[in-house]
Symmetry: C2
């Protein structure tokens, strides 16, 4: 691989001049610039990113920490981030936390050790205090889908409480009053906020929260099946079901079909996230839209602005959820 030194020799200029034409900031005469460019071309010169990083103390890489690499939710999120960052010539280093405190911390320190200029993390198990503490260090850690007041300038999140409210309110407006709820793991901030929204909607309509109609799932299909099975086995009375994400809704729908429950006539189901396959389920899933790709894009822009002093776009930090009405929910008929 040709180095900057060889380029300078071929072009008959100094190392510094070559460096200057690369980092367009300094002024170089057109003549010499042309000579250098030509030399680069004939040598097929490619700057060594590692050496650049070492000298400039800037790696042009952004660390991303997600819970899982698979799953529609994270896929869309990563996609939003990477597209935006790549267009700006940055690159992403991706690793996983698996929703476990130790692994999440490991992941973040791993990314710091890799000299990332910033980290965008979707963490669920570490404490707010840890996030605050780690942010006192050199590399800024941005939080996705989780709001920490002390770090609000570094958070991009959906108003999950409003989303949870919206989901339940949608069912109530259709006449349902016996509404079961399958929640996500409550140590996860978004899961807990969604539940709070659910409770607020109930309260607002004088419906008492019923522990019997509450089940904590795992945000995966199996959690939805297990939750619905639980409610049915116990013969509890309900006409509608809120699932705290679409995967669980899918699992619940599968279980319902296997047990000959007509959807949505006998049971209305609403999901959360509006992942891609929600529109291909049967019946198509009514759900709460969670624009994760947009949020990922926004997080990337935030980093570009704060860390690399690029652009000056308006940053939207808290996204508002909306209902996507499809076929899995119907009016309560007596």
């Amino acid at each position: 691989m040709a180095t900057i030194y060889e380029v300078s020799k071929l072009a008959g200029v100094s190392l510094a001049t070559v460096s200057r034409v690369m980092n367009k900031n300094a002024r170089v005469s057109d003549k010499t610039k042309k000579k250098v460019l030509e030399a680069m071309d004939t040598l097929g010169y490619r700057p060594n990113a590692i050496a650049q990083s070492l000298a400039s103390n800037c790696s042009n890489s952004i660390g991303i920490l997600v819970s899982e690499l698979s799953g529609a939710f994270f896929g869309q999120m990563m996609s939003g981030i990477e597209t935006e960052l790549r267009a700006a010539g940055k690159h992403v280093i991706i690793t996983t936390g698996h929703s476990e405190e130790e692994k999440e911390k490991d992941g973040i320190e791993f990314l710091i050790g890799r000299n990332c200029d910033a980290i965008i993390a979707h963490v669920e198990a570490v404490s707010d205090e840890y996030l605050i503490e780690i942010n006192k260090g050199k590399v800024p850690v941005y939080s996705m889908s989780r709001h920490v007041e002390a770090l609000k300038d570094k958070c991009i999140s959906l108003d999950n409480e409003a989303g949870g409210y919206l989901a339940t309110k949608t069912l109530i407006d259709l006449g349902h009053t016996n509404i079961a709820y399958i929640a996500g793991p409550q140590f996860k901030a978004d899961a807990s906020n969604r539940l709070q929204g659910h409770k607020r909607a109930l309260k607002e309509h004088d419906i008492e929260f019923d522990e019997n109609l509450f089940y904590i799932g795992d945000f995966r299909e199996i959690g939805g099946s297990a939750g619905l099975k639980h409610f049915l086995d116990e013969k509890f009375n309900f006409t509608a079901l809120v699932c705290a994400n679409d995967e669980m809704a899918s699992g619940a729908m599968k279980y319902a079909r296997e047990h000959n429950i007509n959807l949505p006539e006998q049971l209305s189901i609403i999901g959360f996230d509006n992942v891609i396959f929600a529109n291909y389920l049967y019946p198509t899933l009514t759900t709460i839209d969670n624009p994760v790709d947009e949020m990922g894009k926004m997080a990337a822009q935030l980093v570009l602005r704060d860390v690399y002093q690029q652009k000056k776009l308006e940053i939207e930090r808290v996204f508002e959820p909306t209902v996507i009405v499809r076929d899995s929910v119907s009016k309560l008929t007596n």
Copy 2:
């Protein structure tokens, strides 16, 4: 951040010695080793990965190129790769190619520019020749899900032809003879190989390949809906449908339901890949298993062995597909 220099000063040894205790290869006396370790500890020393890379000419990072970051298929693939690599202390830099030749080349060169020690690529648009050519360079490029004979030591792939054969054969064995086929984009090697397998199965059973019952989709849900719509609009006669991947099968199933076609009584549908949601569709999707996560893991092991001289595991380069029987396929009843 403490540097190796400060550690050496505090421990009262030279830079070289500190470096030696880090890279456990060389022999250092237990006494000095202990001193150094203590110094590192009190200073909270963390080696600078960038500087290590520059000096050792090894970045400990592996580039991954996928078509998309979202989608069950790529999610599982990345997950398999990352888990294995991370456990070995390596990290992944992920970027996308979007199935377009220019972007795929861009992506690969981007990763090379980032000094990746190796690249694992799922490419679809670039030519075999390009892959061969790029592999003459310093950084080895491994290919996922695409077999290139001249590069067979660097390829991890599913026998897609056998899979395509298996899918169609499954239907034939159930009595179907009018079998429609929705293919993937034919410039993609896996799509083309699956189709070849389909044709072989037909031929083997003296069924003529019917252009009318052939449609080229896009590997996404929409392609499946469009394909089935096409066949139905033209009123072609068929009792079974092979979709070259599960997404298209999902799209076709949705379209079928919307047009009151009973599945699988009136139409048997088989998919390909066995992505996670295949088991949550209605009816649950019979499909060809494609162990992408296993293949990702294997690719990672291959890199670990060839590039980092780790382990000496047996590498499995070509995986055999199997049928996963579920509910979307039934016997032909006259």
